[in-house]
Amino acid sequence: MSDYSVEANGLTKYFGDYKAVDAVSLAVPSGSIYGVLGPNGAGKTTSLRMTLGIIDPDEGTSRLLGGLRPQSVRARIGYLPEERGLYPGMKAREAIAFMGALRGLDWREGRRRAATFMSELGLERVIDEKIRKMSKGMAQMIQLIGSIVHAPDLIVLDEPFSGLDPVNQERLEMLVRRERDRGATILFSTHVMAHAERLCDRIAIIARSQRRFEGTVDEARALLPMQVRYIPRDRGDPAAVAANLPSGAELRGDAWHFTIEDGDVEPLLARITASGHGVTGLSISRPALHDAFVHIVRQVDAGFVADEARDAVEEASA
């Protein structure tokens, strides 16, 4: 078995003159949960579609599960597209069995597994309900079950959490972990950082059509300095307190806010102790993935705006 379930290299896609995806590469370790993060319109869905061979890239290649082409390993893949699609006239159990049958699962076995999955997720009451009678979230859960009913080795979920209520989001997270524990590799896209933070072993951040970051969640968070909130016991002279804090410290109410790098924690504690201003409250925390994501996207946007401005100036001078 290959170390990587997904090996996409230099995927590029144009829609007319617009470069929707620009040389995106993904390497998803087997047995991991991998998140593709990015703002709306970044190129996540198109990247996933090219990775799966649903649409052909203009440049680049994709290998799944060690196969030469994505099409050669279709039966071992489960896919939940961003735009949910089910036949409204089908009953839930049949819809799941149908999706399993498309991937080579026997109809009867598909129906049996559908019943098992649905009862585990508390959906047994709608097992013979037609899709058109279900709520959007419920239909989404049916489709999710349909994409994993054949026990695939690779599960690709495009924005799986959108449209789900918190209870179903919790169920979905549970399902994702269970599938990973079974041995499957999970690749999913999202722009909701909380899910990625809780689930992902590794992430890629795509912005403005390009991959801007690849690594673990901790590595992403480490892109930003740690955040400190300090409330001194002696609040008499702010200037005296500030003199012992890093430059850029800001007083908001009773608390000072500032950032420090990884190796600066102990020196900071020593300085505060030595200053004699005392400590009423002190919190040192890593930034959330959300902050790292916003930081990266803003940097990209700023660069993009600068590039645009430079191009405009060059064009005007020419």
Binding site: A20, R49, I54, G85, F98, M99, L102, R103, G104
Partner: protein
């Protein structure tokens, strides 16, 4: 079973059940009843009108009583030989009296159409016609001439002919061509009614976004062929239903017929002989190959319609495609019908080779030509074209619709649905 074929049957099964297991299918199944009912009503009305028109027309002779008798006798004899559309209108008489009867006034009388009025001496009659050079005037001239010839020749013994009908004389070319044309018409009608539906077959998947699931899970060729198979299954079910109804109706009708008459017909063996000798290849082969050609016609035209319909971005576009599709089908029918009327001609060969008219033209050929091996060749040729059309349709669909217009554009792919918008 290979994964490709298995996938094809999964899609076909879904489509077949999605169509058949709905109340609207009953309406679809019974639709021919409405068509037959309307046809019968229209036909009866037209027939009544025609009968009425035939009965209402007349030709009139103004003559002496002696001439009237001679003319009536001649009319009886001539009318026997002039039947069908050549039959002259009813002949009416007016006795010529001292007062002059105006022929033009007779033509204006209400209650019936008067096509011609003859008056004056038979040697030199005056004929007033509604239409110049009409058949009615010439018939009246013929009548006058016949009476004059009878009078000149004197009484003649009536001819007593002995008729002998030719039995087991083999099928006539005209009858075989008629059967061939019948096969073309039936296959055309069935494909017109049933294959055209494939044009909107992918609309459901594009509308509810299932197409992306299908495209990710199975080769699109499986999807297209599966859809064709599913629709073919519906068509075959439709035909089987009506064949069963016809067979059942025939059985019921047979129980109502006098057994003695049936027995007599069986002993005479006329029907059986006629049935066995009509198409050049024989009825069993002809019916079997006809069914196969219907399947190929359905698959070929269905594949074209499916491919074209898959490019449509909206229901309105699909509706707009219906007219050219119907015209295309009628074109293939006309080509095949023309070919059937000239077996062995260059046109016939062209129609038999041209893939989209080939099933129709080859079915007609089976009625007039007893060669059987050529049909195997034709079926293979048509199957290759089904595969080719599906292959091209899938490429166009993938390049034009799935890839958001970076490939081939049907007209303006940016407005189409499915995955065409640059979702990112």
């Amino acid at each position: 079973m290979t994964p490709f074929i298995r996938n094809m049957f999964v899609v076909a099964r879904r489509d077949f059940l999605a169509i058949v297991a709905t109340p609207t299918f009953l309406l679809f199944l019974l639709a021919p009843l409405f068509m037959v009912g309307m046809g019968l009503a229209g036909g009866m009305g037209a027939s009544q009108l025609a009968d009425k028109a035939r009965g209402a027309g007349r030709i009139v002779v103004i003559a002496d009583p002696a001439d009237i008798e001679a003319l009536r006798d001649a009319d009886h004899r001539l009318r026997d030989a002039l039947t069908g559309p050549d039959a002259p209108p009813l002949l009416a008489f007016r006795v010529a009296g001292p007062a002059r009867i105006d022929p033009a006034a007779i033509t204006r009388e209400k209650g019936s159409d008067t096509y011609a009025v003859m008056s004056g001496p038979l040697e030199n009659p005056h004929i007033v016609e509604r239409n110049a050079d009409g058949k009615s005037g010439r018939y009246l001239t013929l009548l006058a001439g016949q009476v004059l010839r009878d009078r000149a020749a004197g009484p003649v013994a009536p001819v007593k002919p002995h008729f002998e009908s030719l039995q087991n004389g083999g099928a006539s070319i005209a009858a075989q061509q008629s059967i061939g044309f019948g096969a073309i018409f039936i296959i055309f009608l069935l494909t017109l009614l049933l294959a055209g539906q494939t044009v909107s077959s992918l609309a459901e998947e594009k509308g509810n976004k299932v197409i992306e699931i299908l495209a990710a899970a199975v080769p699109l060729e499986s999807v297209f062929l599966g859809k064709l198979l599913g629709m073919l299954g519906v068509a075959v079910l439709f035909i089987a239903f009506w064949l069963a109804v016809a067979f059942g109706g025939g059985l019921v009708a047979a129980t109502q017929i006098d057994p003695a008459a049936l027995d007599a017909a069986g002993k005479a063996g006329k029907a059986a002989t006629a049935l066995a000798s009509m198409p050049a290849t024989g009825w069993p082969f002809f019916l079997g190959i006809g069914l196969l050609y219907f399947i190929m016609a359905f698959l070929l035209l269905g594949a074209v319609f499916l491919g074209v319909g898959a490019q449509a971005g909206s229901v309105r576009e699909i509706q707009m495609l219906s007219l050219p599709i119907t015209i295309f089908q009628v074109g293939m029918f006309s080509l095949s019908a023309a070919a059937a009327s000239a077996p062995g001609s260059g046109l016939a060969h062209f129609a038999q080779i041209f893939p989209f008219s080939s099933p129709l033209a080859m079915a007609a050929r089976a009625a007039t030509d007893d060669a059987k091996a050529v049909h195997l060749l034709a079926l293979g040729w048509q199957a290759i074209w089904v595969a080719l059309v599906v292959w091209v349709s899938v490429r166009l669909f993938r390049a034009g619709v799935l890839s958001g217009g970076s490939g081939w554009k049907f007209w303006s792919r940016k407005k189409s649905s499915a995955l065409s918008s640059p979702r990112t």
